[in-house]
Amino acid sequence: MKLECNKNKIESAIQKTARLANKHLTLPVLACVYLDATTSNKLIIKATNLDIGLEVEVKIKTIESGVVAVPANVLLGVLSSIKDDNLVIETKDNNLKITANKNSVVIKCLPHEDFPTIPRLENLKSIKIKSNDLILGFKSVWYSASNSNIKPELSSVYIYKNDSSLVFVSTDSFRLAEKKINTKVPDDFPQTLIPYKNVIEIIKLFEDYKDEIEVIFDKNQMAFKVDDMYLVSRLIDGSFPDYKQIIPKTYNTAATVLKNDLINSIKTSNIFSDALNKIKLKVDVKNKTLNIESKNNDVGESQEYISANTSGENVELNFNSKYINDCMQSISSDSLVLDFGGVGKPLAISGATDKSFLYIVMPMNR
């Protein structure tokens, strides 16, 4: 293999793929990126962690075709230190040689025959969806997924079609986030469970992409395809719990507050909260305030008062502040509504004007 290429282009492609090339206990070649220069003037860079597979294409000038598997972190380190624009990359007896104006490095490679094939989903049902919509849906909910392996359904983001919107949901059984995205998708959009770890990668990869993404469905996997990138993810075979039934229909207390007020108060309270991140939310209907209290025997205590538009009865509940803080990034409107169900009942948080996002969080015991 021998090729000439632009250093910045290839560096950004390696950066994307290298995230997936991690050490693997039994298969060392998985710590490599796979450079495939068999098509003329095109280099395909592949990486996989056997859960997710990624291919990125870069335009190059092929001199001699070939393939090689090279340790990703070494290659990335080399590329970031080279300052020249043009590189020559070639293989020399199982090593990869990179030559620039003033540098020349040789990287030891691994047998490329061991590198797994990345499944190509072709001739299957596919849809086009705006990248912005997809990423916004994922970003709004993924953090609520459970990071334990016991229930794969809960370690996933659940996507399904409902009327004219695509609904993204995730829950770790303590809180639940649901985001509805108004977008055109066909009626037979299948219910899908994508592992949340893969969702993080999808967000990272397509966040800056502005065009439409082609989404291809298969029974156990799903692929995302744009001009120069192809990502295939495993899907979870299972059913998401029937979460609709736990969304409370009636509330005892409602408080509308400014989002920034709440974020700031939680920030302060966090300094004084204990190991369990416990904060106390108190709605005072008479004085029209939402009070946030926290106390730590070693540090001190704090009391914050936020003016709020309130209705219903007074209520006082403890929450894990992290759970409440998590959802702030997903609410676009500047004020938000807290709906309390009462003692032992969940709290629902949503934007005051934008109802596409709903967050439900359970209070702490005692």
């Binding site: 693997h24 206990l25 039994t26 298969l27 060392p28 996989t48 056997l50 859960d51 597979g53 061991d114 797994p116 094939t117 990345i118 499944p119 392996n149 016991i150 229930k151 794969p152 359904e153 399904y160 829950t171 059984s173 303590f174 809180r175 639940l176 219910q191 029974k219 156990n220 996997q221 295939v232 495993r234 979870i236 075979d237 299972g238 059913s239 998401f240 719990p241 029937d242 979460y243 039934q245 736990i246 369990l276 416990k278 929450f319 894990n320 759970y323 032992g344 969940p346 439900i360 359970m362 209070p363 702490m364 015991n365």
Partner: protein, 447 residues
């Protein structure tokens, strides 16, 4: 063929012919999940493994398989996540300070409403339900053609819901593109009523007509709901005409569901009507064993036998007692002995209901829709004579009351009249299908 042993024999051979890294990465968590008509189904954890085995080791595996058995001529891969099944019954211990959302444990698929836990793998087939099971298999093989409609009836807790949901899940597994929908008759009715109120009855019709298979549970609750029945009748005709399958379940034979329109009854009878009676002793043993193994509970054969013996009929009661045993075992942290189980079970065994003769008379006269008092009167009207004779027969056969005392209780009749009635019913049952069915129905009501 023991597929587990077959695979265990082959694995070392593969191990010797591939590198250690390759073996550990690609052959971990593989197993033979099935063997049918010369095709071996190898279950693998994900698509990467599937692609890799197909590309690199397909020939090798097939060669080794053929060496051990000539009958194997093809190898196919199925993707199955093992970890999930292993973990299915690990109870989540909540040590978290935050309360949990009350998410239900029953994960139900939104599209088809089926509970994925109800499969044929977990369905115990015994002499009592083998006919129903065989018919269900025929339905799956010839969807829309064989036994349409398929009507299952039997008392509560005999496994009707499990069977009909398993049909749905099996059809879905064979062909995922088939649209299946499971619902209870109550849901159907609610849907119908709300669509009438919202004035979009056509939407309702379209919704149900697009399914390839409709599974309706507990049809007896439609009794007396005339409008809903009419809608079901039309839906039924459309689906049947377009060769779409319909599966029903009920607690009675359709002919005995009171308040069900005759045209529906006759249509139900046109397909396959199968009874699931109470499980026999051996089947109960098998059910207990399969339940225990699915939750990793070890029980002595003696205890299993005792449970099967003392809890008759309802499978749900069996499950309840097993759950009780699990709970006790966990708290006491040791396996229970027979006497402890007996103590536990004592409370959950249903006492056989003791009915007074008056209650029997009431049940039977209600069954024949005549008033209770008329039984005791001297009238010899035809519509009264038969129920009266049935009452005498039941009192004699099931409650072992003496002939004279039966006569006395039913309005002072002579004991020879009673003897004659009992003999007549006994004889008629042999020839009269309808009568024998009625008697069975009545007996199930008396319990």
């Amino acid at each position: 063929m023991d597929t587990k042993e077959l695979w265990n024999n082959i694995l070392p051979e593969i191990e010797s012919s591939v590198s250690k890294a390759n073996f550990a990465t690609w052959f971990k968590d593989t197993k033979i999940s099935g063997f049918e008509d010369g095709v071996v189904y190898l279950s693998v954890p994900n698509t990467f493994v599937q692609e890799w085995l197909l590309k690199k080791f397909h020939q090798l595996i097939l060669k080794l398989l053929r060496q051990s058995s000539e009958s194997i001529h093809r190898l196919e891969y199925v993707i199955k996540e093992e970890s999930k099944q292993k973990n299915q019954y690990i109870p989540t211990k909540t040590c978290s300070p935050t309360r949990e959302l009350p998410l239900s444990e029953h994960y139900i698929n939104k599209d088809d409403n089926l509970n994925p836990r109800y499969t044929f793998e977990s369905f115990v087939v015994g002499p009592f339900n083998e006919l129903a099971h065989a018919a269900a298999q025929a339905v799956i093989k010839n969807l829309g053609v064989a036994y349409n409609p398929f009507f299952i009836y039997g008392n509560t807790g005999h496994g009707k819901t499990h069977l009909i949901q398993a049909i749905g899940n099996a059809v879905k597994a064979v062909d995922p593109s088939k649209k299946i929908f499971y619902l209870t008759s109550e849901k159907f009715q609610n849907d119908f009523v709300s669509s009438m109120l919202a004035n979009n009855i056509n939407q309702f019709k379209d919704k149900y007509r697009k399914y390839d298979m409709l599974i309706m549970d507990d049809i007896q609750f439609l009794s007396g709901k005339e409008k809903t029945q009419e809608e079901l009748f039309h839906l039924f005709n459309t689906m049947k005409d377009s060769n779409k399958h319909i599966v029903f379940s009920s607690d009675k034979h359709p002919n005995f569901i009171t308040g069900l329109e005759d045209r529906l009854k006759s249509r139900f009878a046109a397909g396959m009507v199968i009874d699931i009676p109470a499980p026999d002793h051996e089947s109960r043993v098998a059910i207990i064993k399969s339940k225990c193994s699915s939750i990793n509970l070890f029980l002595d054969d003696e205890i299993i036998d005792y449970l099967a013996d003392s809890i008759k009929g309802n499978i749900r009661d069996l499950e309840g007692v097993i759950n009780l045993i699990v709970c006790q075992t966990e708290t006491k942290n040791k396996t229970l002995i027979l006497n402890e189980v007996k103590d536990l079970v004592k409370n959950s065994i249903k006492q056989k209901k003791l009915l007074s003769y008056k209650e029997v008379v009431k049940i039977i006269s209600d069954f024949y829709k005549i008033s209770e008092e008329i039984i005791y009167e001297k009238t010899r009207k035809k519509e009264v004579i038969k129920p009266r004779q049935v009452i005498m027969y039941i009192l004699r056969e099931d409650f072992c009351i003496s002939y004279p005392s039966i006569g006395e209780k039913l309005g002072g009749r002579d004991h020879t009249t009673v003897i004659h009635s009992c003999e007549k019913i006994k004889k008629d049952i042999q020839v009269d299908e309808l009568l024998s069915k009625e008697i069975r129905e009545i007996r199930s009501m008396i319990g």
